[in-house]
Symmetry: C2
Subunit: 294 residues, 2 copies
Protein backbone atom coordinates (compact mmCIF):
# COMPACT_ATOMS: atom_id res chain seq x y z
CA UNK A 1 0.00 0.00 0.00
CA UNK A 2 1.15 3.49 -0.83
CA UNK A 3 2.61 5.67 1.90
CA UNK A 4 0.51 8.70 2.67
CA UNK A 5 1.87 12.03 3.90
CA UNK A 6 -0.42 14.16 6.04
CA UNK A 7 0.33 17.79 6.86
CA UNK A 8 -2.01 19.73 9.14
CA UNK A 9 -3.25 17.90 12.21
CA UNK A 10 -5.75 20.46 13.50
CA UNK A 11 -9.34 20.00 14.68
CA UNK A 12 -10.23 18.47 11.32
CA UNK A 13 -6.90 17.06 10.14
CA UNK A 14 -6.17 14.95 13.20
CA UNK A 15 -9.35 12.84 13.12
CA UNK A 16 -9.02 12.53 9.34
CA UNK A 17 -5.47 11.20 9.73
CA UNK A 18 -6.64 8.82 12.44
CA UNK A 19 -9.31 7.46 10.11
CA UNK A 20 -6.63 6.79 7.50
CA UNK A 21 -4.60 4.88 10.09
CA UNK A 22 -7.69 2.87 11.06
CA UNK A 23 -8.16 1.97 7.40
CA UNK A 24 -4.64 0.55 7.36
CA UNK A 25 -2.78 3.32 5.56
CA UNK A 26 0.88 3.90 6.40
CA UNK A 27 1.23 7.54 7.43
CA UNK A 28 4.03 10.08 7.63
CA UNK A 29 2.92 13.29 9.30
CA UNK A 30 4.10 16.83 9.83
CA UNK A 31 2.48 19.53 11.92
CA UNK A 32 3.76 22.82 13.29
CA UNK A 33 2.18 22.32 16.70
CA UNK A 34 3.55 19.20 18.42
CA UNK A 35 0.69 17.96 20.62
CA UNK A 36 -1.15 16.19 17.78
CA UNK A 37 2.12 14.90 16.35
CA UNK A 38 2.98 13.15 19.61
CA UNK A 39 -0.49 11.64 19.84
CA UNK A 40 -0.18 10.16 16.35
CA UNK A 41 3.42 9.14 16.95
CA UNK A 42 2.17 6.86 19.74
CA UNK A 43 -0.03 5.13 17.17
CA UNK A 44 3.11 4.15 15.23
CA UNK A 45 3.00 6.94 12.69
CA UNK A 46 6.29 8.28 11.33
CA UNK A 47 6.92 11.92 12.14
CA UNK A 48 8.78 14.09 9.62
CA UNK A 49 10.68 17.30 10.29
CA UNK A 50 9.47 19.48 7.46
CA UNK A 51 6.99 19.40 4.58
CA UNK A 52 9.92 18.55 2.28
CA UNK A 53 10.88 15.69 4.57
CA UNK A 54 7.31 14.27 4.48
CA UNK A 55 7.20 14.68 0.72
CA UNK A 56 10.38 12.67 0.16
CA UNK A 57 8.93 9.66 1.98
CA UNK A 58 5.48 9.36 0.44
CA UNK A 59 3.55 8.69 -2.76
CA UNK A 60 0.59 10.85 -1.90
CA UNK A 61 0.62 14.02 0.18
CA UNK A 62 -2.53 15.25 1.89
CA UNK A 63 -2.69 18.81 3.23
CA UNK A 64 -5.37 20.04 5.62
CA UNK A 65 -4.54 23.63 6.51
CA UNK A 66 -6.38 26.79 7.54
CA UNK A 67 -6.19 28.80 4.33
CA UNK A 68 -4.42 29.53 1.04
CA UNK A 69 -1.30 31.22 2.44
CA UNK A 70 -0.59 28.20 4.68
CA UNK A 71 -1.07 25.79 1.78
CA UNK A 72 1.28 27.85 -0.40
CA UNK A 73 3.88 27.97 2.38
CA UNK A 74 3.76 24.23 3.06
CA UNK A 75 3.80 23.22 -0.59
CA UNK A 76 5.95 25.92 -2.19
CA UNK A 77 7.80 27.76 0.62
CA UNK A 78 11.21 27.12 2.23
CA UNK A 79 11.55 23.37 2.85
CA UNK A 80 8.23 23.06 1.04
CA UNK A 81 6.83 19.77 -0.19
CA UNK A 82 7.61 20.65 -3.80
CA UNK A 83 11.31 20.08 -3.06
CA UNK A 84 10.62 16.55 -1.88
CA UNK A 85 8.05 15.40 -4.42
CA UNK A 86 9.11 13.75 -7.65
CA UNK A 87 7.32 13.43 -10.96
CA UNK A 88 4.04 11.49 -10.87
CA UNK A 89 3.44 12.01 -7.16
CA UNK A 90 0.05 13.33 -6.01
CA UNK A 91 -0.88 16.24 -3.76
CA UNK A 92 -4.43 16.20 -2.35
CA UNK A 93 -5.21 19.54 -0.76
CA UNK A 94 -8.22 19.09 1.50
CA UNK A 95 -8.04 22.61 2.92
CA UNK A 96 -10.81 25.08 2.08
CA UNK A 97 -9.07 27.81 0.11
CA UNK A 98 -9.71 30.09 -2.83
CA UNK A 99 -9.99 28.09 -6.08
CA UNK A 100 -7.84 30.78 -7.70
CA UNK A 101 -5.02 29.85 -5.30
CA UNK A 102 -5.64 26.15 -5.93
CA UNK A 103 -5.21 26.61 -9.66
CA UNK A 104 -2.02 28.66 -9.22
CA UNK A 105 -0.45 26.03 -6.98
CA UNK A 106 -1.53 23.21 -9.29
CA UNK A 107 0.08 24.89 -12.30
CA UNK A 108 3.37 25.36 -10.42
CA UNK A 109 3.36 21.71 -9.30
CA UNK A 110 2.41 20.58 -12.80
CA UNK A 111 5.64 22.10 -14.18
CA UNK A 112 7.51 19.51 -12.12
CA UNK A 113 5.12 16.75 -13.23
CA UNK A 114 3.45 16.64 -9.79
CA UNK A 115 -0.30 16.00 -9.91
CA UNK A 116 -2.78 17.77 -7.65
CA UNK A 117 -6.41 17.56 -6.70
CA UNK A 118 -8.45 19.78 -4.38
CA UNK A 119 -10.78 17.99 -2.02
CA UNK A 120 -12.22 20.35 0.58
CA UNK A 121 -14.63 18.89 3.08
CA UNK A 122 -17.77 19.84 4.91
CA UNK A 123 -19.40 18.39 7.98
CA UNK A 124 -17.29 19.71 10.84
CA UNK A 125 -15.36 17.96 13.58
CA UNK A 126 -18.05 15.39 14.44
CA UNK A 127 -18.20 14.04 10.92
CA UNK A 128 -14.42 14.21 10.60
CA UNK A 129 -14.24 11.90 13.62
CA UNK A 130 -16.97 9.62 12.28
CA UNK A 131 -15.34 9.51 8.85
CA UNK A 132 -18.56 10.74 7.28
CA UNK A 133 -17.40 14.03 5.80
CA UNK A 134 -18.70 15.33 2.50
CA UNK A 135 -15.70 15.65 0.21
CA UNK A 136 -15.91 17.85 -2.88
CA UNK A 137 -13.25 16.95 -5.38
CA UNK A 138 -11.69 18.88 -8.25
CA UNK A 139 -9.54 16.45 -10.24
CA UNK A 140 -8.93 14.57 -13.44
CA UNK A 141 -11.37 11.66 -13.62
CA UNK A 142 -8.54 9.14 -13.58
CA UNK A 143 -7.03 10.65 -10.42
CA UNK A 144 -10.45 10.73 -8.80
CA UNK A 145 -10.90 7.02 -9.49
CA UNK A 146 -7.44 6.18 -8.26
CA UNK A 147 -7.83 8.02 -4.95
CA UNK A 148 -11.52 7.42 -4.35
CA UNK A 149 -10.85 4.69 -1.77
CA UNK A 150 -8.33 6.85 0.05
CA UNK A 151 -10.81 9.74 0.28
CA UNK A 152 -13.59 7.36 1.27
CA UNK A 153 -11.62 6.45 4.38
CA UNK A 154 -12.35 10.01 5.56
CA UNK A 155 -15.77 10.72 4.09
CA UNK A 156 -19.02 9.05 3.18
CA UNK A 157 -20.02 11.40 0.38
CA UNK A 158 -17.12 11.82 -2.02
CA UNK A 159 -18.13 13.69 -5.18
CA UNK A 160 -16.14 14.60 -8.27
CA UNK A 161 -17.26 18.15 -9.04
CA UNK A 162 -15.00 18.93 -12.01
CA UNK A 163 -11.46 19.97 -12.86
CA UNK A 164 -8.84 21.08 -10.35
CA UNK A 165 -10.21 23.99 -8.31
CA UNK A 166 -13.82 22.80 -8.66
CA UNK A 167 -13.82 21.24 -5.22
CA UNK A 168 -13.16 24.63 -3.70
CA UNK A 169 -15.71 26.30 -5.96
CA UNK A 170 -18.36 23.89 -4.62
CA UNK A 171 -17.14 24.61 -1.10
CA UNK A 172 -17.51 28.37 -1.63
CA UNK A 173 -21.06 27.91 -2.94
CA UNK A 174 -21.74 25.70 0.07
CA UNK A 175 -20.37 28.19 2.60
CA UNK A 176 -22.25 31.13 1.13
CA UNK A 177 -25.54 29.24 1.35
CA UNK A 178 -24.81 27.94 4.86
CA UNK A 179 -23.95 31.39 6.24
CA UNK A 180 -27.03 33.05 4.79
CA UNK A 181 -29.36 30.17 5.69
CA UNK A 182 -28.22 30.34 9.31
CA UNK A 183 -28.55 34.12 9.35
CA UNK A 184 -32.10 34.15 8.02
CA UNK A 185 -33.17 31.49 10.51
CA UNK A 186 -31.95 33.86 13.23
CA UNK A 187 -33.60 36.86 11.63
CA UNK A 188 -36.97 35.23 11.03
CA UNK A 189 -37.30 33.35 14.33
CA UNK A 190 -36.41 36.47 16.26
CA UNK A 191 -39.41 38.16 14.64
CA UNK A 192 -41.55 35.19 15.62
CA UNK A 193 -40.36 35.35 19.22
CA UNK A 194 -40.94 39.11 19.38
CA UNK A 195 -44.53 38.39 18.23
CA UNK A 196 -44.78 36.33 21.44
CA UNK A 197 -45.13 33.02 19.64
CA UNK A 198 -43.15 30.05 20.93
CA UNK A 199 -40.25 29.46 18.49
CA UNK A 200 -40.50 25.69 18.94
CA UNK A 201 -44.10 25.77 17.77
CA UNK A 202 -43.13 27.81 14.74
CA UNK A 203 -40.34 25.32 14.04
CA UNK A 204 -42.82 22.44 14.19
CA UNK A 205 -45.16 24.23 11.80
CA UNK A 206 -42.60 25.14 9.13
CA UNK A 207 -39.58 22.84 9.22
CA UNK A 208 -40.94 20.26 6.82
CA UNK A 209 -42.10 22.83 4.25
CA UNK A 210 -40.28 25.04 1.76
CA UNK A 211 -38.56 26.91 4.62
CA UNK A 212 -36.99 23.67 5.80
CA UNK A 213 -33.23 23.32 5.58
CA UNK A 214 -30.40 21.36 7.07
CA UNK A 215 -29.19 24.61 8.63
CA UNK A 216 -32.57 25.10 10.30
CA UNK A 217 -32.67 21.51 11.49
CA UNK A 218 -29.15 21.38 12.87
CA UNK A 219 -28.74 24.94 14.21
CA UNK A 220 -32.19 25.87 15.54
CA UNK A 221 -31.98 23.50 18.55
CA UNK A 222 -28.56 24.95 19.46
CA UNK A 223 -29.91 28.49 19.18
CA UNK A 224 -32.78 27.57 21.50
CA UNK A 225 -30.28 26.17 24.02
CA UNK A 226 -27.95 29.16 23.62
CA UNK A 227 -25.28 26.55 22.96
CA UNK A 228 -22.69 28.09 20.65
CA UNK A 229 -19.85 25.62 21.16
CA UNK A 230 -18.26 24.82 17.79
CA UNK A 231 -18.99 22.94 15.48
CA UNK A 232 -17.57 25.33 12.98
CA UNK A 233 -16.29 28.66 14.24
CA UNK A 234 -17.24 32.13 13.10
CA UNK A 235 -13.50 32.72 12.53
CA UNK A 236 -13.28 29.87 10.02
CA UNK A 237 -16.52 30.84 8.34
CA UNK A 238 -15.23 34.41 7.96
CA UNK A 239 -12.14 33.03 6.24
CA UNK A 240 -14.31 31.12 3.73
CA UNK A 241 -16.57 34.13 3.21
CA UNK A 242 -13.60 36.34 2.45
CA UNK A 243 -12.42 33.81 -0.13
CA UNK A 244 -15.93 33.84 -1.61
CA UNK A 245 -16.10 37.63 -1.82
CA UNK A 246 -12.58 37.91 -3.27
CA UNK A 247 -13.37 35.29 -5.89
CA UNK A 248 -16.68 36.99 -6.68
CA UNK A 249 -15.06 40.38 -6.97
CA UNK A 250 -12.35 39.09 -9.29
CA UNK A 251 -15.08 37.69 -11.57
CA UNK A 252 -17.42 40.68 -11.21
CA UNK A 253 -20.17 38.55 -9.60
CA UNK A 254 -22.37 40.43 -7.12
CA UNK A 255 -23.04 38.66 -3.80
CA UNK A 256 -24.98 41.14 -1.67
CA UNK A 257 -26.42 38.63 0.83
CA UNK A 258 -23.08 36.94 1.40
CA UNK A 259 -21.43 40.33 1.81
CA UNK A 260 -24.03 41.40 4.36
CA UNK A 261 -23.68 38.25 6.48
CA UNK A 262 -19.89 38.53 6.31
CA UNK A 263 -20.24 41.99 7.86
CA UNK A 264 -22.42 40.56 10.65
CA UNK A 265 -19.80 37.90 11.36
CA UNK A 266 -17.03 40.49 11.36
CA UNK A 267 -18.91 42.52 13.96
CA UNK A 268 -19.34 39.40 16.09
CA UNK A 269 -15.65 38.63 15.80
CA UNK A 270 -14.69 42.17 16.80
CA UNK A 271 -17.00 41.65 19.80
CA UNK A 272 -14.88 38.65 20.84
CA UNK A 273 -17.08 35.85 19.47
CA UNK A 274 -14.56 34.40 16.96
CA UNK A 275 -14.44 30.99 18.63
CA UNK A 276 -18.21 30.52 18.79
CA UNK A 277 -20.07 28.26 16.41
CA UNK A 278 -21.45 30.00 13.32
CA UNK A 279 -24.95 29.54 14.73
CA UNK A 280 -23.94 32.44 17.01
CA UNK A 281 -24.93 34.71 14.10
CA UNK A 282 -28.12 34.75 16.16
CA UNK A 283 -26.27 36.89 18.73
CA UNK A 284 -25.73 39.61 16.15
CA UNK A 285 -29.46 39.78 15.54
CA UNK A 286 -30.24 39.72 19.23
CA UNK A 287 -27.94 42.69 19.64
CA UNK A 288 -29.30 44.84 16.81
CA UNK A 289 -32.89 44.22 17.87
CA UNK A 290 -32.18 44.33 21.64
CA UNK A 291 -34.22 41.19 22.09
CA UNK A 292 -33.30 37.59 22.82
CA UNK A 293 -34.74 34.52 21.11
CA UNK A 294 -35.19 32.70 24.42
CA UNK B 1 -72.62 17.66 9.10
CA UNK B 2 -72.02 21.39 9.51
CA UNK B 3 -72.43 23.66 6.51
CA UNK B 4 -69.21 25.34 5.48
CA UNK B 5 -68.98 28.76 3.85
CA UNK B 6 -66.03 29.42 1.58
CA UNK B 7 -65.09 32.88 0.35
CA UNK B 8 -62.17 33.31 -2.05
CA UNK B 9 -61.97 30.78 -4.88
CA UNK B 10 -58.62 31.82 -6.36
CA UNK B 11 -55.64 29.68 -7.39
CA UNK B 12 -55.44 28.27 -3.86
CA UNK B 13 -59.02 28.64 -2.64
CA UNK B 14 -60.68 26.76 -5.47
CA UNK B 15 -58.79 23.48 -5.09
CA UNK B 16 -59.12 23.76 -1.29
CA UNK B 17 -62.90 24.11 -1.63
CA UNK B 18 -62.99 21.18 -4.04
CA UNK B 19 -61.14 19.03 -1.50
CA UNK B 20 -63.79 19.91 1.09
CA UNK B 21 -66.52 18.84 -1.34
CA UNK B 22 -64.67 15.59 -2.00
CA UNK B 23 -64.56 14.97 1.76
CA UNK B 24 -68.35 15.29 1.86
CA UNK B 25 -68.73 18.79 3.28
CA UNK B 26 -71.75 20.82 2.28
CA UNK B 27 -70.48 24.11 0.88
CA UNK B 28 -71.85 27.59 0.31
CA UNK B 29 -69.47 29.76 -1.67
CA UNK B 30 -68.96 33.37 -2.61
CA UNK B 31 -66.36 34.83 -4.94
CA UNK B 32 -66.06 38.17 -6.70
CA UNK B 33 -64.94 36.64 -10.01
CA UNK B 34 -67.61 34.30 -11.39
CA UNK B 35 -65.63 31.68 -13.35
CA UNK B 36 -64.70 29.60 -10.29
CA UNK B 37 -68.17 30.06 -8.82
CA UNK B 38 -69.80 28.56 -11.91
CA UNK B 39 -67.37 25.64 -11.88
CA UNK B 40 -68.24 24.84 -8.26
CA UNK B 41 -71.94 25.46 -8.85
CA UNK B 42 -71.91 22.59 -11.36
CA UNK B 43 -70.66 20.36 -8.54
CA UNK B 44 -73.84 21.09 -6.60
CA UNK B 45 -72.44 23.77 -4.35
CA UNK B 46 -74.76 26.59 -3.26
CA UNK B 47 -73.72 30.04 -4.49
CA UNK B 48 -74.37 33.05 -2.25
CA UNK B 49 -74.65 36.69 -3.30
CA UNK B 50 -72.51 38.38 -0.68
CA UNK B 51 -70.27 37.51 2.24
CA UNK B 52 -73.22 38.33 4.53
CA UNK B 53 -75.41 35.98 2.53
CA UNK B 54 -72.86 33.14 2.89
CA UNK B 55 -72.50 33.85 6.57
CA UNK B 56 -76.21 33.54 7.26
CA UNK B 57 -76.30 30.04 5.81
CA UNK B 58 -73.31 28.38 7.48
CA UNK B 59 -71.83 27.26 10.78
CA UNK B 60 -68.21 27.78 9.79
CA UNK B 61 -66.89 30.39 7.37
CA UNK B 62 -63.55 29.88 5.64
CA UNK B 63 -61.86 32.83 3.94
CA UNK B 64 -58.95 32.48 1.49
CA UNK B 65 -58.14 35.94 0.20
CA UNK B 66 -55.10 37.81 -1.14
CA UNK B 67 -54.29 40.04 1.83
CA UNK B 68 -55.47 41.83 4.97
CA UNK B 69 -57.56 44.56 3.31
CA UNK B 70 -59.59 41.95 1.39
CA UNK B 71 -60.15 39.91 4.56
CA UNK B 72 -61.30 43.03 6.43
CA UNK B 73 -63.63 43.99 3.58
CA UNK B 74 -65.19 40.53 3.32
CA UNK B 75 -65.60 40.07 7.06
CA UNK B 76 -66.28 43.59 8.29
CA UNK B 77 -67.19 45.73 5.23
CA UNK B 78 -70.55 46.51 3.61
CA UNK B 79 -72.55 43.26 3.42
CA UNK B 80 -69.66 41.71 5.31
CA UNK B 81 -69.86 38.30 6.92
CA UNK B 82 -70.09 39.83 10.40
CA UNK B 83 -73.65 40.90 9.62
CA UNK B 84 -74.63 37.32 8.85
CA UNK B 85 -72.79 35.41 11.58
CA UNK B 86 -74.42 34.77 14.91
CA UNK B 87 -72.89 34.06 18.31
CA UNK B 88 -70.82 30.87 18.50
CA UNK B 89 -70.13 30.66 14.78
CA UNK B 90 -66.55 30.19 13.61
CA UNK B 91 -64.45 32.12 11.08
CA UNK B 92 -61.33 30.36 9.81
CA UNK B 93 -59.18 32.81 7.88
CA UNK B 94 -56.74 30.81 5.76
CA UNK B 95 -55.35 33.87 3.96
CA UNK B 96 -51.76 34.92 4.60
CA UNK B 97 -52.04 38.33 6.21
CA UNK B 98 -50.39 40.39 8.90
CA UNK B 99 -50.95 38.84 12.35
CA UNK B 100 -51.63 42.37 13.60
CA UNK B 101 -54.63 42.54 11.24
CA UNK B 102 -55.71 39.04 12.29
CA UNK B 103 -55.82 40.04 15.95
CA UNK B 104 -57.75 43.23 15.21
CA UNK B 105 -60.38 41.37 13.21
CA UNK B 106 -60.62 38.63 15.84
CA UNK B 107 -61.24 41.15 18.59
CA UNK B 108 -64.03 42.84 16.59
CA UNK B 109 -65.67 39.46 15.87
CA UNK B 110 -65.26 38.43 19.50
CA UNK B 111 -67.43 41.36 20.60
CA UNK B 112 -70.31 39.68 18.77
CA UNK B 113 -69.37 36.29 20.25
CA UNK B 114 -68.00 35.06 16.91
CA UNK B 115 -64.94 32.83 17.21
CA UNK B 116 -61.98 33.06 14.85
CA UNK B 117 -58.84 31.15 14.04
CA UNK B 118 -56.09 31.97 11.52
CA UNK B 119 -54.84 29.07 9.45
CA UNK B 120 -52.58 30.25 6.64
CA UNK B 121 -51.13 27.59 4.39
CA UNK B 122 -47.94 26.84 2.55
CA UNK B 123 -47.19 24.49 -0.29
CA UNK B 124 -48.57 26.29 -3.34
CA UNK B 125 -51.14 25.29 -5.93
CA UNK B 126 -49.91 21.72 -6.41
CA UNK B 127 -50.28 20.83 -2.76
CA UNK B 128 -53.59 22.70 -2.58
CA UNK B 129 -54.86 20.40 -5.33
CA UNK B 130 -53.38 17.31 -3.67
CA UNK B 131 -54.82 18.31 -0.30
CA UNK B 132 -51.34 18.14 1.21
CA UNK B 133 -50.87 21.75 2.29
CA UNK B 134 -49.06 22.68 5.47
CA UNK B 135 -51.55 24.56 7.62
CA UNK B 136 -50.31 26.76 10.46
CA UNK B 137 -53.03 27.42 12.97
CA UNK B 138 -53.50 30.15 15.56
CA UNK B 139 -56.45 29.16 17.74
CA UNK B 140 -57.76 28.12 21.11
CA UNK B 141 -56.87 24.46 21.67
CA UNK B 142 -60.53 23.47 21.82
CA UNK B 143 -61.28 25.15 18.50
CA UNK B 144 -58.22 23.52 16.95
CA UNK B 145 -59.45 20.09 18.05
CA UNK B 146 -62.97 20.77 16.83
CA UNK B 147 -61.87 21.85 13.36
CA UNK B 148 -58.85 19.61 12.92
CA UNK B 149 -60.73 17.19 10.65
CA UNK B 150 -62.07 20.03 8.52
CA UNK B 151 -58.57 21.46 8.06
CA UNK B 152 -57.15 18.00 7.41
CA UNK B 153 -59.39 17.73 4.36
CA UNK B 154 -57.18 20.44 2.82
CA UNK B 155 -53.77 19.72 4.30
CA UNK B 156 -51.59 16.88 5.47
CA UNK B 157 -49.60 18.84 8.03
CA UNK B 158 -51.94 20.77 10.29
CA UNK B 159 -50.13 22.33 13.26
CA UNK B 160 -51.42 24.37 16.17
CA UNK B 161 -48.82 27.11 16.57
CA UNK B 162 -50.41 29.12 19.36
CA UNK B 163 -53.10 31.72 20.01
CA UNK B 164 -55.03 33.60 17.34
CA UNK B 165 -52.54 35.35 15.02
CA UNK B 166 -49.83 32.72 15.60
CA UNK B 167 -50.61 30.97 12.34
CA UNK B 168 -49.73 34.10 10.45
CA UNK B 169 -46.65 34.68 12.59
CA UNK B 170 -45.38 31.23 11.59
CA UNK B 171 -46.24 32.02 7.97
CA UNK B 172 -44.21 35.26 8.11
CA UNK B 173 -41.22 33.41 9.54
CA UNK B 174 -41.66 30.82 6.81
CA UNK B 175 -41.85 33.35 3.98
CA UNK B 176 -38.83 35.29 5.17
CA UNK B 177 -36.73 32.13 5.23
CA UNK B 178 -38.04 30.91 1.88
CA UNK B 179 -37.32 34.21 0.11
CA UNK B 180 -33.78 34.47 1.46
CA UNK B 181 -33.00 30.78 0.93
CA UNK B 182 -34.04 31.03 -2.72
CA UNK B 183 -32.06 34.23 -3.15
CA UNK B 184 -28.83 32.82 -1.74
CA UNK B 185 -29.12 29.70 -3.91
CA UNK B 186 -29.23 32.06 -6.91
CA UNK B 187 -26.37 34.15 -5.59
CA UNK B 188 -24.08 31.26 -4.74
CA UNK B 189 -24.70 29.09 -7.80
CA UNK B 190 -24.15 32.05 -10.09
CA UNK B 191 -20.68 32.38 -8.58
CA UNK B 192 -20.11 28.68 -9.18
CA UNK B 193 -21.20 28.98 -12.81
CA UNK B 194 -19.00 32.03 -13.34
CA UNK B 195 -16.08 29.91 -12.04
CA UNK B 196 -16.87 27.62 -14.99
CA UNK B 197 -17.99 24.73 -12.84
CA UNK B 198 -21.12 22.83 -13.85
CA UNK B 199 -23.91 23.87 -11.43
CA UNK B 200 -25.40 20.36 -11.48
CA UNK B 201 -22.10 18.95 -10.22
CA UNK B 202 -21.98 21.53 -7.45
CA UNK B 203 -25.56 20.64 -6.56
CA UNK B 204 -24.64 16.95 -6.34
CA UNK B 205 -21.70 17.75 -4.09
CA UNK B 206 -23.50 20.00 -1.61
CA UNK B 207 -27.25 19.31 -1.52
CA UNK B 208 -27.11 16.65 1.17
CA UNK B 209 -24.86 18.69 3.48
CA UNK B 210 -25.43 21.74 5.66
CA UNK B 211 -26.21 23.86 2.57
CA UNK B 212 -29.09 21.55 1.70
CA UNK B 213 -32.60 22.95 1.87
CA UNK B 214 -36.06 22.33 0.54
CA UNK B 215 -35.73 25.59 -1.39
CA UNK B 216 -32.53 24.31 -3.03
CA UNK B 217 -34.07 20.95 -3.82
CA UNK B 218 -37.31 22.27 -5.27
CA UNK B 219 -36.12 25.46 -6.99
CA UNK B 220 -32.65 24.60 -8.34
CA UNK B 221 -33.96 22.27 -11.07
CA UNK B 222 -36.41 24.98 -12.22
CA UNK B 223 -33.61 27.55 -12.29
CA UNK B 224 -31.51 25.21 -14.44
CA UNK B 225 -34.43 24.81 -16.85
CA UNK B 226 -35.17 28.54 -16.82
CA UNK B 227 -38.72 27.49 -15.94
CA UNK B 228 -40.27 30.27 -13.90
CA UNK B 229 -43.94 29.30 -14.22
CA UNK B 230 -45.63 29.65 -10.81
CA UNK B 231 -45.74 27.89 -8.30
CA UNK B 232 -45.89 30.92 -6.10
CA UNK B 233 -45.60 34.32 -7.75
CA UNK B 234 -43.16 37.11 -6.96
CA UNK B 235 -46.21 39.37 -6.57
CA UNK B 236 -47.62 37.20 -3.77
CA UNK B 237 -44.26 36.81 -2.11
CA UNK B 238 -43.79 40.59 -2.14
CA UNK B 239 -47.14 40.92 -0.38
CA UNK B 240 -45.99 38.54 2.38
CA UNK B 241 -42.61 40.27 2.63
CA UNK B 242 -44.26 43.65 3.05
CA UNK B 243 -46.37 42.20 5.86
CA UNK B 244 -43.19 40.82 7.43
CA UNK B 245 -41.34 44.13 7.24
CA UNK B 246 -44.32 46.10 8.54
CA UNK B 247 -44.72 43.72 11.46
CA UNK B 248 -40.98 43.82 12.15
CA UNK B 249 -40.90 47.60 12.03
CA UNK B 250 -43.84 47.90 14.40
CA UNK B 251 -41.97 45.68 16.88
CA UNK B 252 -38.54 47.24 16.27
CA UNK B 253 -37.08 43.97 14.97
CA UNK B 254 -34.34 44.38 12.36
CA UNK B 255 -34.62 42.15 9.27
CA UNK B 256 -31.83 43.26 6.94
CA UNK B 257 -31.73 40.12 4.76
CA UNK B 258 -35.49 40.03 4.30
CA UNK B 259 -35.45 43.74 3.48
CA UNK B 260 -32.73 43.26 0.89
CA UNK B 261 -34.49 40.38 -0.88
CA UNK B 262 -37.76 42.35 -0.83
CA UNK B 263 -35.94 45.09 -2.75
CA UNK B 264 -34.69 42.54 -5.31
CA UNK B 265 -38.24 41.28 -5.79
CA UNK B 266 -39.57 44.82 -6.15
CA UNK B 267 -37.04 45.50 -8.89
CA UNK B 268 -38.10 42.32 -10.68
CA UNK B 269 -41.75 43.31 -10.39
CA UNK B 270 -41.05 46.76 -11.79
CA UNK B 271 -39.30 44.96 -14.66
CA UNK B 272 -42.56 43.12 -15.43
CA UNK B 273 -41.80 39.80 -13.70
CA UNK B 274 -44.63 39.91 -11.12
CA UNK B 275 -46.32 36.76 -12.40
CA UNK B 276 -43.16 34.65 -12.42
CA UNK B 277 -42.44 32.05 -9.76
CA UNK B 278 -40.35 33.32 -6.84
CA UNK B 279 -37.46 31.18 -8.10
CA UNK B 280 -37.12 33.98 -10.70
CA UNK B 281 -35.15 35.86 -8.04
CA UNK B 282 -32.32 34.25 -10.01
CA UNK B 283 -33.09 36.69 -12.84
CA UNK B 284 -32.30 39.63 -10.59
CA UNK B 285 -28.86 38.19 -9.91
CA UNK B 286 -28.28 37.38 -13.55
CA UNK B 287 -29.03 41.01 -14.34
CA UNK B 288 -26.78 42.62 -11.73
CA UNK B 289 -23.87 40.34 -12.62
CA UNK B 290 -24.55 40.37 -16.39
CA UNK B 291 -24.16 36.60 -16.45
CA UNK B 292 -26.61 33.73 -16.80
CA UNK B 293 -26.64 30.54 -14.73
CA UNK B 294 -27.13 28.35 -17.82
Amino acid sequence: MKRIGFIGLGIMGKPMAINLIKSGYDLVVYNRSQASVQELSKQGVEVAFSPMDVAKKVDVLITMLPNGPEVKEVLLGDNGAIYGLSKGKMVIDMSSISPVTTKKIASILAKKGIRMMDAPVSGGETRAIDGTLSIMVGAYKEDFSNYYDLLSAMGSNVTLVGEIGSGNVAKLVNQSIVAVNIAVVSEAFLLGAKCEVNPESIYEAIHSGLAGSNALQSKFPLMMEGNFEPGFTLELHRKDLKNILETAQSLDVKMPLTKMVTEFIEKLISDGEADKDHSAILKYYEKISSFNLV
